[in-house]
């Protein structure tokens, strides 16, 4: 049984960590970009960002004044049991979000879409989002908590493409998205770009968002052909000639991650998401014995999450001819 107090306490620590400490993988990626940026203004912006991360850490203040929209990804082992059950878990995550919004402080961003009601704590109807996954390994009773504070207004798009659009169509929509996000830098590039391909409209958005927020800089899709496409898309995005804030430069994309899901046979859904200069994510694994391991890689997309089919006894008529 995993202690609910420990979950709430750890969730509070994660809120702070995400808001204050830039993950090392993104920082390394941004430093590499800063070293090779040639645009005068774009280069100035990247240097200022690097300084900003230092200051945030030194002062223990949020790196960006805009909290984005804090959300939670919860993953559990097959045998994990949470004290008080899933209802207690959700209450703990909501409470931690509210407490650290006031405590750190974070800007209260979440309001009612129509009445603009603001509880000044980033909690409301459907906020923070809490999403779930399960994992067969490692064995034992554990729960992974990941919080992501993604910038919330700009830098997301979706398009229904069709198989005949092909890779050329995918590239076109990718470039269209980046050029649109990038002007005046409203989506705060250079970013981790996540692309979702396939699924249904909602799952396509979810895949792309997770590709941006739950995979690290330098990670590659397990499918070698998709991994190649990731490299190519990164390169393509950085050839636009646009840098930070939409100034002339050569870094828009710190990395490009692609995730796919099986879709309707007639379609090829595509979504594009930019995880900004404040790529805020923090993760902890809590074990039933009270051990806590903090990290910044959510390690979400395992072979299990990308499983292709099911073990079953296919009827003989179903066997594919060679």
């Amino acid at each position: 049984m995993i202690s609910i107090d420990l979950i709430e306490k750890t969730a509070g620590v994660l809120m702070d960590k995400a808001a204050v400490e830039i993950p090392q993988d993104y920082l390394d990626g941004l430093k590499a970009a800063a070293n090779t940026e040639e645009g005068d203004l774009a280069s100035f912006v990247l240097q200022a960002m690097l300084e900003n991360y230092e200051v945030a850490k030194e002062d223990g203040r949020a790196m960006c004044g805009d909290t984005g929209t804090p959300r939670w990804y919860v993953k559990m082992s097959n045998t994990a049991q949470v004290e008080g059950g899933p209802i207690a878990l959700e209450a703990a995550l909501r409470r931690a979000t509210a407490n650290r919004t006031v405590g750190l402080p974070l800007r209260p961003n979440r309001v009612h879409p129509l009445w603009r009601t603001d509880h000044d704590n980033n909690v409301g109807i459907g906020a923070p989002e809490i999403e779930y996954g399960f994992e067969p390994t490692p064995e034992g009773e554990w729960i992974d908590l990941t919080t992501v504070h993604k910038g919330g207004l700009f830098g997301t798009d979706y398009r229904m493409l069709f198989p005949s659009d092909g890779i050329e169509g995918i590239k076109r929509f990718y470039l269209d998205s980046l050029v649109a996000f990038g002007k005046r830098g409203l989506a705060c590039q250079p970013a981790i770009i996540g692309i979702g391909l396939g699924g249904c409209k909602d799952t396509c958005m979810v895949l792309g968002k997770r590709a941006a927020c739950l995979r690290t800089v330098g990670s590659r899709n397990a499918d070698p052909k998709i991994a190649e496409l990731e490299d190519e898309m990164k390169e393509l995005g950085n050839s636009i000639g646009m840098g930070a804030m939409g100034f002339v430069g050569k870094h828009m994309v710190i990395d490009c991650n692609i995730e796919v899901g099986y879709c309707h046979t007639g379609g090829m859904q595509m979504s594009v998401h930019a995880f900004c200069l404040s790529s805020r994510r923090a993760v902890a694994r809590i074990w039933a014995d009270g051990q806590i391991e903090y990290r910044t890689d959510p390690d979400w997309f395992t072979d299990y999450q990308r499983r292709e089919t099911v073990e079953w006894d296919a009827p003989p008529s179903h066997a594919k001819s060679a």
């Binding site: 040639e38 005068d40 203004l41 774009a42 280069s43 100035f44 912006v45 200022a48 960002m49 900003n52 991360y53 200051v55 945030a56 002062d59 203040r61 949020a62 790196m63 960006c64 004044g65 805009d66 909290t67 006031v102 750190l104 402080p105 974070l106 800007r107 209260p108 961003n109 603009r116 603001d118 398009r159 229904m160 493409l161 069709f162 659009d165 092909g166 050329e168 169509g169 590239k171 076109r172 929509f173 470039l175 050029v179 002007k183 005046r184 830098g185 409203l186 705060c188 393509l236 050839s239 636009i240 000639g241 646009m242 930070a244 804030m245 939409g246 100034f247 002339v248 200069l277 404040s278």
Partner: protein, 226 residues
């Protein structure tokens, strides 16, 4: 391109002289000293549409309007806890700005993303005002450090913490980028134009989607995909 050149740095008062404003060039980096207040749609609507009396003496106390909701809370003893400050996108506030400048005498507008040269020429130039953009835009911690103290908050009950009028004392607060000058030139449009030259080449080897969307065609009789 080669090694990037360092942009010019300038110190600026939040109640600037006309000469100091005339000195600013697109792409200069500015650091601010003096009082700054935040005002966005909540404040604009209250001051302009509801004609509430502005609780500050403007522009004497400050001629600098920050489009920002800070990450801040009010402690139980009435003191303030301010962490990071990051600007919010300014284009949404265009419709109030001319009247706001008439009322407040604002000379410096700070925000995210700037405005169009058309707006600079029609609103900013007649009011002898310029636009400074925050950097990044995620430099919230750096800017937070430039706040010497939070002086006051107004209208938090009426418009909420995020929309309230925060008054802060800036000490070498920055960096900010000069995004418009007194002639109404726009830094972002200048950069867009430079980038536009290379775009055709980048798009080579891509092709438009089989089915269009509205926006790509404005003919509502066309068949499009949603």
């Amino acid at each position: 391109m080669g090694r990037p050149a360092k942009p010019r740095e300038i110190s600026l008062s939040t109640t600037p002289t006309p000469d100091a404003l005339a000195e600013l060039q697109l792409g200069d980096i500015a650091y601010l000293d003096g009082l700054i207040y935040t005002a966005r749609e909540g404040v604009y609507m209250r001051a302009i549409e509801q004609k509430a009396e502005i609780p500050l003496e403007l522009p004497k106390q400050s001629a600098t309007n920050f489009h920002c909701s800070p990450a801040a809370s009010i402690n139980e003893d009435g003191t303030f806890n301010m962490g990071a400050v990051t600007a919010t996108a300014s284009f949404r506030f265009a419709k109030w700005l001319s009247e706001w400048m008439d009322k407040s005498g604002a000379k410096i507008i700070i925000g995210k993303g700037g405005m169009t040269s058309e707006l600079y020429k029609s609103i900013f130039v007649p009011h002898c005002a310029v636009y400074l953009s925050t950097v990044g835009y995620g430099t919230g911690a750096l800017l937070g450090r430039g706040i010497k103290r939070v002086v006051d908050i107004h209208w938090e009950k009426e418009v909420g913490l995020a929309q309230a009028m925060w008054v802060i004392e800036a000490e070498r607060m920055g960096p900010f980028i000069v995004a418009s000058d007194l002639e109404g030139n726009c830094l972002f449009e200048r950069e867009n134009e430079k980038i536009a030259h290379g775009l055709d080449k980048i798009y080579e080897g891509t092709k438009p989607a089989v089915l269009k969307r509205f926006g790509e065609t404005d003919d509502r009789k066309d068949e499009v995909i949603g």
